[in-house]
């Protein structure tokens, strides 16, 4: 663990010394801010329409189910598009610059190298998500949303991110070119996102495809529901790609 943390610390330092992290954080803050403002406006307008109808519609608006839930679901899509930028350089850059030789001849295991890099990317992702606390703070300031569903949604986002980063780490370990790594990751995620729509057609195959959808498992979390099924999906998803990443790093030794 100490070895993995050594790797992770350097990795975070490197990310914060390069512009990529800041561009990413900036892009996320901008896009999330846009979603937030848009959803909030719709929510407020809907609320005003309801009060004008004098409660005839019979429904009430809930900050959790009618605003935060959709916001979190959209955040998941945002994360899906942005995280390849965070994972693409992790291993590729080390291969390109030759520092992989330093890591592979150090008394640490291949698993520790991969896990250290994963931890670093995950921590940066956590920092990125923390930006959204600002917006939610506004909601908590002017309203009283339930806390538990919000926490569940964040847990979901963290798990989703862990899975995406693990996958990105694997693709990054395949090539010395971080652009190629990013594009491969992006392509893979696109497929794993689109299977949700393919899965919607139903049938046995449809059910399998729907299960494989990376964002599909986010819906429960977004609405505050934590299921074993979703937990298992994300954890095994992350573990699967981390395992492949380790094997890929190991195979680099054979290929030289």
């Amino acid at each position: 663990m100490r070895n993995a943390l050594t790797i992770a610390r350097r990795e975070i330092g490197a990310a914060l010394a390069s512009p990529v992290a800041y561009v990413l954080f900036g892009a996320f803050a901008f896009l999330y801010g846009y979603f937030f403002a848009d959803y909030l406006q719709s929510f407020v307008e809907a609320g005003m329409r309801m009060s004008q109808m004098g409660g005839f519609s019979g429904g009430t608006l809930n900050v959790n189910t009618d605003l935060i839930r959709w916001l979190m679901a959209s955040t998941a899509i945002l994360v899906l598009f942005l995280l390849p930028l965070l994972s693409m350089r992790t291993v590729s850059e080390e291969i390109r610059s030759g520092t992989m030789e330093l890591l592979l001849t150090a008394p640490i295991t291949d698993g520790q190298i991969v896990f250290g890099k994963f931890l670093a990317a995950f921590a940066l992702y956590g920092g990125m998500l923390a930006l959204t606390g600002l917006h939610l703070g506004v909601l908590f300031w002017f309203s009283q949303p339930e806390v538990a569903p919000v926490l569940a949604a964040y847990l979901g986002l963290l798990l989703l991110g862990a899975g995406l980063l693990a996958l990105g780490l694997f693709f990054s370990s395949l090539t010395r070119n971080q652009i190629v790594a990013g594009l491969l990751t992006f392509g893979a995620l696109l497929v794993l996102w689109l299977v949700e729509f393919a899965g919607a057609r139903g049938g046995e195959l449809g059910r399998i495809l729907a299960y494989l959808s990376v964002t599909g498992h986010m819906e429960g979390f977004a609405s505050g529901v934590i299921t074993t099924r979703d937990l298992v999906f994300y954890l095994s998803f992350a573990a699967f790609w981390l395992f492949l990443a380790r094997e890929s790093v190991r195979s680099r030794r054979w290929r030289g």
Binding site: G98, T99, E101, L102, L104, G256
Partner: protein, 347 residues
Amino acid sequence: MEPGHRPLVLVDRVSKRYGRTLAVAELSFGVARGEVLGFLGPNGAGKTTTMRVITGFMPPTEGRVLVGGLDIAEAPLEVRRRIGYLPENPPLYPEMEVSAFLEFAARLRGVPRSRVREAVAGAIERSALGEARDRIIGKLSRGYRQRVGLAQALVHEPDLLVLDEPTAGLDPKQIHETRELIRALAGERTVVLSTHILPEVAVTCDRVVIIAGGRLRAEDTPERLVARLGAARRGRGTWEIETTAPADTAAAALRAVPGVAAVEAGAETTERTLVLQVEATGDREVATDLARAVLGAGAPLYALRRSGASLEDVFLALTTEETEADEVGDADSGNGAGPPGAPEDDS
């Protein structure tokens, strides 16, 4: 290796194959404790591959490597802890400060937390990096980067230092400093260094392993290798004589000396001075005859030196595919044919 000493490193019939290319073939040699071993070979001979196998970067296809009695394949982490490795391109993170990078390297190599600071200070001092301590690696000159590379290999006080072309790309002053540093390390540390620069071996190494085409060609001290080739040439030597041009008379007089096989104007010949390359059999005594011949012809004599078997000759003889008969019979000078065969691996 000296008999009776248990070697620190034992390379035992190691072969390494990349796909269908055989990079290293059944290579065996040992490195004694405290020794500086020069690993010599043309580009693409398998030097880097062998070093990568020794450092545990890659497993051999066949054979095994023992370091301190431990098999790399069985105790990879334990072995890697004892090795400091400087690859051909120093593995540096350009965005880091020198001291921060060395701290990272120390931690990575398993230096206990409480001793990291001390280890870094020691490595900085040894590599003469004091003034660059707080500078960003990416902004350092090539020479300083090489020193940082050396410092990261030293930081955990390894038993064995493996240096892949440690002086490549340095200017003469830096090369000299690097060699001094390596000499200073000898004795307390065991060093394996690769190079294709011949004088480097004679200056820094106790023993030489010459490989070509992934195979072992020779293994001995630099002096004995030179002596061995000298013997193979059966007393034939090349002499350089510096006199004044034109030298038809001097050349004619030299040809008359018994034992002289050929006299040629050397490459350094200018308008006023003339360097004659004289091929002659016989040992040192022939020098007197040569001098007498020049002076007897009425030409001045500025210098007379033997340019016989050098390490360079040994190297060329061993790494080119010539047979012994060709080597002896081939009297012409300036045969600078590069080593053929060995495919370029460019790494």
